[in-house]
């Protein structure tokens, strides 16, 4: 509080040369120092501020204006100690006198009766490494210029200054500078029309960086729905605090979790393809470093919109474990959003389950079939190699339905192949055998083994259905046969009872 006045080095700021102000400050400081130093009052001060409170710092008192207010409130409790009472009362009076004097000075400032130097001294102490020279952030601006700038910025008065007439790197570091892109026909990007639609454009822009959540890097979730944007960002912050404690989840995982959870909670009508995650590493002098924009692709978005598919993919599966202890797990949804192939992880999961390295409850069952079919469809679509095909413009409307139809067929296949064996141990060793051929990418060996088993079994109708599936989805399919072959393995590996599979295949076949 008093350091500016009492400092010994350097020339005092012009405003501090005001002798009345200096005297008032000196008087108050002397009184407070006398109170704090006096050992007789130590107990009382501790009673008021607590035992742990340090009352002295650097050979001076350590009280703030707030503390003086506290002393004032509790003064009547100490009326029995007249000496203490009098000193405190004097401090309060000195403070009031100082405040009155400063209010008078401020009244002068308000009536604009001050010189330029004092106006700069009285400026609103805002500073930003970003907007160094932008309007009121500029250090050479006096208080009135600042207020004028601020008023025009809030009002969106584009005619006021060149700064407000256009949008470029000066206001948002995520934008290019006019000079860097002189050949782009729309630079300078004029704000006049934009402000008519969005009156507080500059207020939003100038506050944009505050929206970022700091966690080693800075991240911000963006959507075109303000409420959704706010909710998701708030959730990300809560999740990140938890993740800090657990130290297991990646930032990206936490973020997607927040997005998905919020969407599920709010049941918003949303279009996922308009969601973005903006990330930057650090701010340097008037610039930002390591900026990344991560969006959800249309293809993925169309699948995530579907409740059944999203629920099925929204699951963690262990892919590495020993002695029933999970060493590594993946979140299927995250891999999917990142556009990574799902099958290798699904295979690893079933492998460790068949090797009895995870508990029965950790086995993902139905999610595996969904994930495998989703992955298959993604592969097929990628194979077409047409980024802007018909499907793209129709936003893959039919894709979730098609996936669910195939999943339903796959559920009945998983059940059918399960019924080929009575004994659970035989099922599991057969599942292992089939899984090996999938992992070795040996389609015909897989078909051979399965057909041989079918030819030995008596259940003909059942067999014919399986043969139909093998023909259409495995033998004649070169792109995603493994995903469909995997369905058989999932069915065989599952320990769950007959009823469960019957229920699933009925439910998903729409019966």
């Amino acid at each position: 509080m008093s350091q500016s006045v009492t400092r010994k080095k350097g020339k005092p700021k012009p405003h501090y040369m005001d002798s009345v102000y200096r005297n008032l400050i000196r008087m108050r400081e002397q009184l407070i120092n006398a109170l704090v130093v006096d050992k007789r009052f130590k107990d009382k001060l501790q009673k008021i501020f607590g035992k742990r409170r340090k009352l002295e710092k650097n050979e001076s008192h350590n009280l703030s204006i707030k503390d003086i207010k506290i002393l004032e409130e509790r003064l009547d409790n100490f009326s029995d100690d007249i000496e203490f009472y009098n000193i405190v009362r004097k401090i309060i009076e000195a403070q009031k006198e100082l405040e009155e004097y400063l209010n008078k000075v401020w009244d002068n400032v308000k009536s604009k009766n001050i010189n330029k130097e004092n106006s700069v001294f009285c400026r609103i102490p805002v500073d930003s490494s970003f907007y160094k020279n932008y309007l009121f952030f500029n250090n050479s601006k006096g208080i009135f210029e600042q207020l004028e700038d601020l008023k025009n910025l809030i009002d969106g008065n584009t005619a006021y200054s060149e700064y407000l007439s256009k949008i470029d790197k000066t206001i948002s570091k995520f934008l290019p500078s006019d000079k860097e892109f002189p050949n782009i026909s729309y630079t300078e990007f004029q704000t006049e029309q934009l402000v008519k639609i969005l009156p507080y454009l500059f207020v939003y822009l100038i506050n944009f960086l505050n929206a970022f959540i700091s966690i080693r890097k800075y991240i911000f979730f963006y959507s075109n729905d303000l409420n959704l944007t706010y909710r998701v960002n708030r959730k990300i912050k809560i999740y990140l605090d938890k993740a800090e404690r657990n130290k297991v989840q990646t930032i990206l995982r936490v973020t997607w979790k927040a997005i998905i959870d919020t969407l599920v909670e709010t049941e918003t009508e949303w279009s996922l393809e308009d969601l973005y995650l903006i990330k930057y590493e650090q701010v340097s002098e008037q610039d930002i470093i390591g900026v990344e924009y991560i969006g959800i692709q249309k293809l993925q978005a169309s699948v995530l919109k579907d409740d059944t598919l999203r629920d099925a993919l929204n699951r963690y599966i262990p892919i590495k474990a020993s002695d029933k202890k999970i060493e590594k797990q993946v979140w299927i949804l995250e891999e999917f959003i990142k556009n990574k192939p799902l099958l290798p992880n699904l295979i690893s999961h079933v492998r460790i389950y068949l090797a009895d390295r995870i508990r029965r409850n950790d086995y993902a069952g139905k999610s595996l079939i969904y994930a495998s079919i989703v992955d298959a469809r993604m592969r097929d679509l990628k194979k077409d190699n047409k980024v802007f095909g018909e499907e793209f413009f129709e936003r893959y409307v039919e894709l979730p339905e098609r996936i669910k139809e195939e999943a339903s067929w796959s559920f009945s296949m998983a059940k059918a192949v399960r019924n080929l064996f009575e004994d659970q141990n035989k099922r599991r060793s057969y599942a292992n055998l089939l899984l090996t051929t999938i992992r070795r990418n040996n389609k015909y060996r897989f078909v051979n083994i399965l057909l041989k088993t079918l030819s030995e079994k008596k259940e003909r109708v059942n067999n014919i259905n399986i043969i139909g599936f093998i023909f259409s989805k495995i033998l004649s399919n070169d792109t995603s046969w493994k995903n469909y072959a995997f369905v058989f393995v999932v069915g065989l590996a599952s320990d769950r009872g007959e009823k469960k599979w019957r229920k699933l295949s009925l439910r998903y076949s729409g019966l």
Binding site: Y444, N448, L451, V461, D478
Partner: protein, 118 residues
Amino acid sequence: MEKVEFEIFRPIKKAELRELQDLTMKTFSKIGTERSRQRLVYDLLNALKTNNRKRFLWLILKNVNTLKPEDKEKSEFTKFLNDLYIEHETPENFEKVAYTIVMGIMSIDKDERGEENG
């Protein structure tokens, strides 16, 4: 020298395989008994497992040859198979064609069963 690329062997289409499967069902439903067909499937799968293409074809042709000359499926099946081999002469395609035939034979039971039930 300019590099000229020839696309001699195009990948086999799913529709062609489907047609082959249907024709196999039609042809082999007239050959042998259910038990003999089961044995044939077993032999064919073993031949494929050891990649014995000669034996596979021998088994198929031997069985088709048991049909009477007036059975139109006999020539139809042989001609279709011959065309497929000429057009898609690669090991990959061979296995696709071969397993389609096996599945065709295995699917015959459906019709018989259907008739029995009907």
